[in-house]
């Protein structure tokens, strides 16, 4: 049985953490919960891409006077402070 090692790679005699044959690995990853995280990350990326694509050219609301006023003040603030 393999042994846990200290930080220098020296065996410490602790019980092994290897669980050979315990479950089939997906993509070479031991724990299905980690595989799920990998899958959900990819799924999240795909969902965001599809959502963005579907809303790429929606009818956009026209700029309101308050939007223009806000942008004017923001630009002036940044120019003054830097």
């Amino acid at each position: 049985m393999p042994q846990a090692r200290d930080v220098h790679g020296v065996p410490r005699g602790l019980e092994t953490t290897t669980r050979e044959g315990e479950s089939a690995m997906i993509w070479g990853i031991e724990d299905p919960v980690v595989t799920l995280a990998y899958l959900l990350s990819i799924a999240g990326m795909v969902t965001c891409a599809v959502y963005g694509w579907a809303h790429w050219n929606p009818d956009d609301e026209p700029a309101k006077p308050e939007d223009v006023a806000w942008a004017k003040e923001e630009k002036e603030d940044i120019e003054k402070s830097l």
Binding site: H8, W27, E30, D31, S41, D67, A71, L82
Partner: protein, 627 residues
């Protein structure tokens, strides 16, 4: 090589400066500012989002944490994408933008202050930002300095000063004007750098599945200190559970890693991102609802390739270091002795020839070597000498070859670190060891891009917090004085981050980021969400939520969470014990992150106090929520 590196850095900085100037010239008026946003190339626009979100902290700090804790860190990527991008943009984005524009709010504290009609709310939010944001800025700066040092062969301190000087020049020269072209160039470089990092790593380790299998097969190499807290291998989640009150320390500790990984790293950072002041402001600066939707598309892809790649590569670096690394070098000394101090936990320092016998007895042996191209006046590189290290003399064109055969964190143990190593240096060491020098220089651009885009918005947020949000409402200052104070605030923030970066080093980047994100979530999230979506939320409710969230978060950090309480030492000096957890409570409470306690308490305070107090005047609510 250094000349090449300097030339690349200078060309990069000139390109950033030129694009900033170009973009600035194209947006002369406020109308241009809006129109440019509406007509810009969607890819250019979307890439600029990601550059602001991701910093060196995510790549270097959390990549190093993944090298320690394993691929379970991918749950943070899940939260980053689903919460930090999808929910943030789709649910919070447009309401924040509309309310910000309608109330003419330009900072997060100003938005909160105007929503609740309260200067106290505005000042309190600004004070929290000004006090805690240097912690996050420090994390970003350390992440950059740890990488720059080895690239330029300079000390950590010199790298810290150099990095801060570059960032300060960028910020002072107007980096925050960083209109989309600048941000987009930075985002593009980051994307290319991280995609290349992922592909090369997988190819090096034999392919997608083979690389994971190699890592999975190393679970017997988990260091004893990590196995003792529940580490089961780098492709597995740690042991889950909740220790019973009075459990033996060894049994109780078996679940610690799970709670650290999930509560501090995944939830602390994953949820905390929703209440980041600089992110909220970003929604207000988005020019249209259409831009927000487009941002979701590229934002999701961008975050996957930033954090997902950093975490996967971080974990896989163990397989590279243990199975493949071969250092081509000239070995200068095979048995240099480094002393970790009497308690074995101090910074390793080289023993002189006349060292006392007790120091020699506890000292560790290191191998000192020079890399090809290193001159004799440069300090040697040191590698811990262990039974796994194999040395081949004079085998490669006159050079020696060292095969360390050790995992990532052990590879970081060197002169100046403790025997625990420094996870913040794992990614830099991996890049320097596994990739050609030119890739290191390209990756330096990636990190500079990540840091500059994030830091410029951080320092601007700190400056406006003290100038616009504290000085103006409290003292009624005039605009000119407010600007001077804003600039002073930026300088104070820079200096504070620099001092913190000098004082604190080693395994700190991810922790500091998590603390800041946690404080933001507990203090701001309930009042921010309530402010956007709940008309019945009142001013006392918001104040109570912020105070309870901040108070409970700080209390838990200083007196309950074992890692932070021990590090700060306040609990020990006041009460004579490491944490205030009573013995009748589960010892697992000591590893639960503050966010799991402080955020629910803050939300409860918001709801209870709002319902218990008089609703805000109908005309104020109508004005705030006007379409």
């Amino acid at each position: 090589m250094e000349t090449f590196t300097f030339v690349v850095v200078i060309v990069y900085l000139l390109a950033i400066g030129y694009l900033g100037y170009l973009g600035y010239r194209q947006t002369k008026t406020a109308a241009d500012y809006l129109v440019a946003g509406r007509n810009a190339n969607p890819v250019v626009m979307a890439l600029s989002y990601g550059a602001t979100f991701i910093s060196t902290s995510a790549i270097v700090g959390f990549g190093g944490v993944a090298a320690n804790f394993g691929m379970g860190l991918l749950w943070l990527t899940v939260f980053n994408i689903w919460v930090g991008v999808f929910i943030a943009f789709v649910v919070f984005g447009n309401p924040t933008r509309r309310m910000g524009h309608h109330l003419d709010a330009h900072t997060f504290p100003e938005l909160m202050g105007k929503r609740y009609g309260s200067r106290a709310v505005q000042v309190l939010c600004a004070l929290i930002i000004f006090c805690f944001m240097p912690l996050y800025a420090m994390a970003v700066i350390i992440g950059g300095a740890e990488f720059i040092g080895p690239i330029f062969h300079i000390s950590y301190d010199a790298a810290l000063y150099l990095f801060v000087a570059i960032v300060a020049a960028y910020v002072i020269a107007g980096g925050i004007k960083g209109v989309m072209l600048t941000d987009a160039l930075q985002g593009s470089i980051m994307l290319v750098g991280m995609v290349a990092l992922m592909i090369i790593t997988y190819v090096k380790l034999g392919g997608f599945t083979a690389a994971h299998q190699m890592l999975a097969g190393m679970s017997d190499a988990v260091p004893a200190p990590l196995a003792a807290i529940g580490h089961r291998g780098w492709t597995s989640m740690p042991v889950f559970g909740w220790a019973k009150p009075g459990a033996a320390p060894a049994d109780a500790a078996r679940v610690n890693l799970w709670w650290t990984l999930v509560s501090t790293i995944v939830l602390g950072v994953g949820i905390g991102v929703l209440a980041q002041p600089q992110l909220v402001v970003r929604f207000m600066t988005v020019k249209s609802r259409q831009a927000l939707s487009r941002g979701v598309a590229v934002g999701g892809i961008f975050i996957f390739f930033m954090t997902g790649v950093a975490f996967v590569v971080g974990a896989l670096s163990n397989a590279y270091f243990a199975k493949q690394e071969a250092i081509r070098c000239e070995i200068v000394e095979e048995a240099a002795l480094f002393d970790p101090g009497p308690d074995g936990a101090g910074a390793l320092s080289q023993l002189p020839a006349n060292a006392p016998p007790e120091a020699v007895a506890r000292a560790k042996k290191f191998i000192g070597y020079r890399l090809p191209g290193d001159t004799a006046d440069r300090p040697l590189h040191y590698l811990l000498s262990t039974p796994s290290v194999k040395i081949e003399r004079d085998v490669d064109d006159g050079f020696d070859v060292i095969r360390p055969g050790m995992i990532a964190i052990a590879r970081t143990i060197t002169k100046g670190t403790t025997l625990k190593g420094n996870s913040d240096t794992i990614i830099p060491i991996y890049l320097n060891s596994a990739f050609p020098k030119w890739f290191g220089v390209i990756f330096l651009m990636t990190l500079l891009s990540a840091a500059m885009s994030t830091l410029s918005s951080q320092f601007h947020t700190m400056g406006t917090a003290i100038g616009r949000d504290i000085f103006e409402p409290m003292l009624g200052g005039d605009a000119a004085r407010s600007v001077r104070i804003t600039r002073t605030g930026i300088v104070i923030g820079l200096v504070a981050a620099l001092i913190l970066g000098k004082l604190v080093r080693g395994n700190i980047v991810a922790l500091a980021t998590a603390i800041f994100f946690g404080v933001c979530a507990a203090s701001f999230l309930p009042s921010f969400v309530g402010g956007l979506f709940w008309r019945r939320m009142t001013r006392p409710g918001a104040l109570a939520s912020i105070i309870v969230g901040l108070g409970s978060s700080v209390f838990w950090t200083v007196f309950v969470n074992a890692k932070t309480a021990t590090g700060l030492g306040v609990c020990q000096s006041l009460f004579g014990k490491a944490t205030l957890i009573p013995s009748s409570f589960s010892p697992t409470w000591a590893v639960v992150d503050p966010i799991l306690v402080a955020l629910p308490l803050s939300a409860l305070a918001a709801v209870v106090v709002s319902l218990a107090t008089k609703p805000m005047p109908a005309e104020h609510v109508a004005h705030v929520f006007a379409k």
